[in-house]
Every structure is written in C-alpha cells, then in structure tokens.
C-alpha cells in the first residue's frame, strides 16, 4: 500500500470510529456474554463427554493403533497421503513449515488495500480452498482406521471370512470399503464382480510381487483359506 492508500484508509477509519460506541459497556457486554458461553460450553463438554483415561502407556504393544488428537488429524492424513518415501520429509516438515512461513508473511504478500472479501477474490478464494482442504484432511484422518478392522457390512455366512481377511494383513496394501490403504495393491471392494472365485484363489497362491503368497495359510488351515476366498468372492461393491 502506498502512502495515499494508507492515508485514505486512516481517514475513513477515523470517521467510522467516531461514529462508533464506547468499548465499555457495549463491546465488553458482548465479550462477557461470549466468555460465559465459552465457559458453559467447556463445562458441558466436560460433564457430558467426560475425561476417560485410556490404558497405560505400553511401548511393547503390537496391537495398538496410534492416533494424534483431532486437531492434528490434517497433518496425520498428510503423512498417510504422501506415499513415496523420498517425499516423506516434505509431508512431515516441509509443507507445514512453508505454510507457517506464508501465514506469518501474509500481510507482506497481500498488499491490496481492499478489505471486502468480494473485492479481493484471490485472497478469499485461497482462504476458502485452504479451509476446505484442511477440513477434508481432518475428516479423512478421523475415518482412517487400523489395518485390522473392516467396516463393510457382510452377510452372516461370510463373517468368518471377513475376520480372516482383516487379520491377514490384506488392509496393509488393499482397500476394502472405507478401510485399508490405497496402495500398492488394487481396491478389493468390487473384486467379487471382477474375478471368479477360482481366479481369486489362484492369485492368493501365486500372486504378483510384492504381494505375499498365502499358500502357507492353505496348507496350515484350508478351512480359513476357503472362508477367505468365499468372502472376497462376495465383494461385489455397492
């Protein structure tokens, strides 16, 4: 902003200020009401939602699914989304640091004297985009489940097969419904309509690398193997 724009703003501001009301009691009243609302909300949340303590910290666990607090879910989801190992430090420190620096330098990047949101379209558009992106990442982070739980509903006859699939590590590389990782293996939500059961069984025994072979499972527990094949064959998408 050049000097003329600065002076113009200051003149306009002083007019608007002189037409305003005194801080006490008008603004203080609004602030006090808001403070009371904040306090009431905090107390209500504490009473209704409680403060449960989880199990004690145990670094030897092999069954726990670590998750951050909800306001860090967007960073957590960013770490899940950036899959190539070479880009990992971008997701962990690169992008957050760059965003923080841009945020601090915002008044120097945006020198447009306009303040009305509709008259500064770039700023408004960027702001809304970032808000939507963060909200989306937070939501996705909240929905990301452990690699041993399949939420997709199935009929009772395939329930056992679903448990075999959940505990065999399939979700580590495949997606089934909302669960699992979207790589390196293909999405299995619809696999039943793409492959016959025999083809599914063949793939399990003789897979394409890097998928592991489940022939050992067939040898040690053929019943479970068949349940797994039947379950996968039933996945015909919604």
């Amino acid at each position: 902003m050049n000097n003329r724009e600065k002076e113009r703003y200051l003149r306009e501001y002083s007019i608007l200020k002189s037409q305003g009301k005194p801080f006490f009691p008008y603004a203080i009243l609004k602030d006090s009401v808001m403070a009371i609302i904040t306090l009431v909300v905090i107390i209500l949340m504490a009473l209704i939602l409680g403060a449960e303590l989880g199990p004690k910290a145990d670094p030897t666990t092999t069954t726990y699914t670590p998750r951050p607090e909800w306001y860090f879910f967007f960073l957590f989801e960013l770490l899940r989304v950036v899959k190539p190992p070479a880009l990992v430090f971008l997701a962990t420190v690169g992008i957050p640091t760059v965003c923080m620096v841009l945020l601090i330098l915002l008044p120097f990047i945006d020198r447009n004297p306009e303040r009305h949101p509709l008259k500064r379209p770039i700023a408004t558009f960027t702001g809304i985009t970032i808000i939507i992106a963060m909200a989306y990442l937070t939501l996705e982070g909240a929905l990301a489940g452990p690699p041993t739980a399949i939420d997709l509903k199935t009929t009772a006859q395939y329930e056992r097969g679903k448990n075999v699939a959940a505990s065999s590590g399939c979700l580590g590389c495949h997606r089934i419904g909302e669960n699992g990782n979207s790589g390196p293996g293909p999405d299995l939500t619809d696999i039943g309509s793409q492959l016959q059961k025999e083809a599914i069984a063949r793939t399990l025994i003789n897979p394409t690398a890097p998928m592991p072979s489940f022939s050992k499972l067939r040898e040690s527990n053929p019943k479970q193997f068949n349940e797994l094949v039947n379950y996968l064959g039933s996945l015909k998408g919604e």
Binding site: Y13, A27, D31, Y71
Partner: protein, 291 residues
C-alpha cells in the same frame, strides 16, 4: 468524583448533595412525595437520615479507595482511555472471538494450576497420579475434563478468530505486526496442545508424542538434534516427560501471556477494524478535497 466520566455519573445526584439537606432531589418534592411526613416521628426521620448517610458512604468509600490508588499510580487516564475508547461502527459478534480465545486460555490456566497440584511428572507415577485425580480428588474428573475439552475449544476459537481476521482484511495496514503476533500465538497454542497431550501418559499420549518427536527428526541436518533435544536423548527416557512438563507449564504459558499482552496493547492502540462492508459517509466538503 472526577474519576467517573460523564456516562457513569448519576444525573443530578452528586451536585445536589452539596446544596440540599436531603439526599434525593429537592426538598420540596420530597415533602410532597412523602404523604406520611406530618405523622413521622423524629426517630423515623433520624433512621431515614442514617440510611441516606450509609448510601453516601457506600459509594464514597470505594471511590475514595480508587482515588488513593490513582494518586499513586497515575493509572486513571490510562484506564479511562482503555475502557471508554470507541469501537468502530458496525462492530458485531464476530469480534468477540478473540476475547473468547483469551478466556479459554485463562480457563486452561486455572484448571491447569489445579491439576498441577496433584500431578506427578514422573514416567513411572504420572498415569497413577492422573487416575488419582479422576477417581479420588473432589471434582477432579470435572477439572480434568474442563482442561481436556478446553484445549479443543481453544483451538477451535483460535482458528475461527484467525479466519475472521483474514476475511475482514484486518491484517492489513496498520495491523501487520498484530497479525504476526497472532500467528506466533497460534503456533504456541498448538505446541501447548502437543506437549500437554503427553502428560496423562496413556497409550494415546505416548504414541502421539513418539510420532511427533520423530517427525521433528525428519527436518534436514538439524532435525536429528532437535528430536534429541525434545526427547532428552536418543530414546524416550526419564527426562522426556519432565521436559514436556517444563515446556508446557512454564516456558510456553509465559510466552503466551507476554504475547497476549502485546497483542491486546496493539488492539487497544490501533483499534479494531470496521467490518469491510461498511463505508464511511463522508462529509461533502471532505470528498471535494480528495478530488
């Protein structure tokens, strides 16, 4: 009664005290308003006068106390300027988000102090002390719940406040420094959330902190040393919890308090912006001058 400015001085009251023997209004009207006046005994009149004296003292004493402080600090003009400054036309409820955030911070500070009286910051005793707070301490569960959900509320409010400031263009001239202080406050709040999260020392706390420390370690060159600094060593050890406790209790609240002071000072000095859709109605002659 010079301390009370115009809007607060009771109309016609104080000045009339000097002139009339009775406390309220002029004597003639009082006489007319009190139909029992001729039947009143001297005793009742004395009681009435006593009550009037009490009322006067009740107002005079605190005012005199304030005057005593003002004489020694010279704070009267500052307070008057701060309290009775004008806020621009059109100030609406969006502008309360900032002070709501500060109030949430104060709530966290107070509940935090009460929790600190029972918490034991040792890796072997922390979990047990938090269980003790939950189960045995009077209102412990409520205070801990307030502190836990207060963190969520504060984070939500601070983001809403930042969004309001962004969309109203309130970070532009002359409020750039205020915005910078605000972003630093945002970062400090998130660090508070991170360090405080470890303190209950349950599974979720522990693993979230392990991941957070390792994420710090992925920064180029300085990363491994920063991660070590945060953890107090190569592995999660005895000093890690103490470090997080010291950072959460002492270092960052001090910084936040100082920066809130600076932030509020700038807000009072520069004033809050008017909503951007409001245009000043200029006097005719002013707009002639501009052209």
């Amino acid at each position: 009664m010079k301390l009370l400015p115009g809007p607060l001085r009771r109309r016609g009251n104080k000045d009339d005290d000097e002139k009339k023997p009775n406390g309220n209004g002029n004597g003639a009207t009082t006489a007319l308003r009190r139909p029992n006046a001729p039947d009143e005994t001297a005793k009742e009149r004395e009681k009435e006068a006593g009550r009037e004296r009490l009322k006067k003292t009740a107002v005079e004493v605190p005012v005199a106390a304030l005057g005593w402080v003002d004489e020694r600090t010279g704070g009267g003009p500052f307070l008057r300027g701060f309290l009775f400054r004008k806020v621009p036309k059109g100030t609406n409820w969006y502008y309360t988000l900032g002070s709501a955030t500060m109030f949430a911070f104060l709530s966290q500070a107070v509940t935090g102090i009460f929790l600190a009286m029972y918490y034991r910051p040792s890796a072997t005793e922390a979990y047990a002390s938090v269980q003790h707070i939950n189960d045995e301490v009077f209102l412990g569960l409520l205070v801990r719940g307030m502190h836990k959900w207060g963190a969520t509320v504060m984070v939500i409010l601070i983001f809403l406040h930042m969004g309001r400031t962004f969309f109203f263009g309130a970070y532009k001239y002359p409020r750039e420094l205020n915005w910078i202080i605000g972003v630093v406050l945002l970062i400090l709040t998130m660090v508070m959330a991170l360090t405080g999260y470890l303190l209950p020392f349950d599974q979720r706390s522990f693993w979230a902190t392990v991941v957070a420390a390792n994420i710090t370690g992925t920064g180029p060159i300085m990363g491994p040393y920063l991660a070590d600094f945060l953890r107090g060593g190569a592995e999660f050890g005895a000093t890690t919890l103490s470090r997080f406790y010291a950072i959460h209790m002492l270092l960052i609240p001090g910084l936040i308090a100082a920066l809130i002071g600076a932030h509020l000072f700038l807000v009072a000095k520069l004033g809050t912006t008017a909503p951007p859709w409001l245009k000043a109605e200029k006097a005719r002659d002013l707009s002639q001058e501009e052209i």
